[in-house]
Amino acid sequence: MLSIKDLHSHYGLSHVIQGISLEVAAGEILGVFGRNGVGKTTLLKNIAGWVKPSSGSIELNGQAIGGIEPDAINRAGLAIVPEDRRIFPGLTVQENLELGLLGLKGAKPASKLNPVLERFPRLAERAKQSATTLSGGEQQMLSLARIMVAEPRVVLIDEPSEGLAPMIVAEIFAIVREMRDAGCAVVLVEQNIHEALAVCDRFVLIERGAVVFAGAAEDDAARAALLEKLAV
């Protein structure tokens, strides 16, 4: 579904991504782990089109999406839930969700919001409120719900549990599982390693912009090696 080959990316003179290659299949969650500043978020920004790669290829179902505009990448079926949620504070909850309709091909009926509002009843109750009035957990729900409207095929999620209470984190990871079960390919960047390993199918460890270790989440030896490398 999502295939990245020998990706390189720079911020000015800083070589942030140094030849990353990875694949994520439909119905699979790939955990991307590593310490702060190793290039995890930059990797997601390259895939989503927010940062132009210096070289390498990014393909979604065989379609090259590397370096094209974020809206075109969205129409190809990829969505991103960024680190700081990036909800639109000047808009209501409903308006934030309706923006998700733009990712739909063809007609964009408001009725497409109904399944999402049913899944997130707290957002339905607060539909007319300004998005800024939501709690941190509700804002994260909104950020996830907003992309679910367009039923993307690939979802990039960056640090969804950051700063949230354990109960909310559990709910968020349950939603991530639902996405996977619906056939979505999910790339999950997360610092909360233990929680993330419980939902991931595979993982990669990034150091200095390169994948240095990879394994299956069910493989006890691989998990132990990962935790040792991260000194968790």
Partner: protein, 294 residues
């Protein structure tokens, strides 16, 4: 006292309101372009002048003024789209984009001003007033055209605020204004939104030019004079704030109008700019928040 109110203060305030509405139309374009593109359009005054000259040229060819009010703004749309696509966008993603877009639009303004001089000469023109005479409004006598100016300006301002704050298109514009990347990743065609917003801002400037042409003189440097006040309104109201532009536009032009009654009119502009300095000292971000922000 009553006669002072009826024959001096109220007409002066209504005249100030007519000017205020016109300034708001220009300032709205400026603030929408800044709020969305983060570009200070230094050529905005020249687009206002183009609107006025467009009305002048077409009216000389015999076209009805009421048709011009709709036609000239429509003609401004492609001009705005071309400017955004082929000038602004070329420098938009550069490292020093605030400086480069400022210089590019400043240079464009100089070129447009010179083109107007070449085409129409440096002299002042005065199109015929389509609504001559005065109207008695509850005992207050005001030139009919200025009354019309207030009415049509108010309708346009209300329509703009309605579209921006109450429609899905407006939500898209506000979202793109707040976070370009996130909006694009949800499917917003940000390039189109930017072109459309720039063209819309330029169209509002052109409309203000058409509306003011019968009131003020039409000359190639008219934009330079008028834009100073519009910039003041945008700075006081808050860069990128639609409501800020509306309220600051009315407030500052009323300050200008009323102060002219008690002190020499030559002090009206220094007072208005003094208000701007005070606002910058105590509230540098302006009175209201930027479009798309909470």
């Amino acid at each position: 006292m009553e006669s002072y109110l009826h024959y001096v203060l109220a007409p002066q305030m209504l005249n100030g309101l007519a000017l205020g509405i016109s300034v708001i139309l220009v300032a709205l374009g400026l603030t929408i372009i800044f709020g969305l593109l983060d570009v200070i359009n230094m050529s905005h005054g020249e687009f206002y002048a183009i609107g006025a000259f467009g009305a002048l040229a077409l009216s000389l060819s015999g076209m009805n003024y009421w048709v011009l009010i709709a036609l000239v703004p429509l003609l401004m749309i492609p001009l705005g789209i071309i400017t955004e696509r082929y000038l602004i966008r070329r420098v938009y993603d550069g490292a020093d984009r605030h400086v480069t877009t400022l210089l590019v639009t400043f240079g464009l303004g100089l070129i447009l001003e010179d083109i107007l001089k070449i085409l129409f000469g440096p002299n002042t023109h005065r199109p015929a007033n389509p609504l001559p005479g005065a109207t008695d409004l509850f005992g207050i006598v005001i030139p009919t055209y200025r009354l019309f100016l207030i009415a049509i300006g108010a309708v346009v301002i209300l329509a703009v605020t309605f579209v921006v704050y109450r429609t899905r298109l407006g939500a898209i514009v506000r979202a793109a204004s707040f976070d370009r990347n996130m909006a694009a990743s949800l499917g917003v065609r940000v390039g189109w939104v930017y072109s459309g917003a720039f063209a819309f801002g330029v169209t509002l400037a052109g409309l203000a030019g058409v509306l003011l042409a019968p009131v003020y003189s039409v000359f190639p440097t008219m934009g330079r004079d008028f834009i100073l006040l519009a910039f003041t309104v945008v700075i006081v109201g808050g860069l990128g704030s639609i409501w800020g532009a509306v309220i600051a536009g009315i407030f500052l032009t009323q300050v200008q109008a009323i102060s002219s009654l008690v002190i020499s009119p030559v002090w009206a502009d220094p007072i208005v700019f003094g208000v701007m300095v005070l606002v910058l000292m105590f509230r540098p971000q302006g009175l209201f928040g930027r479009m798309g922000h909470a």
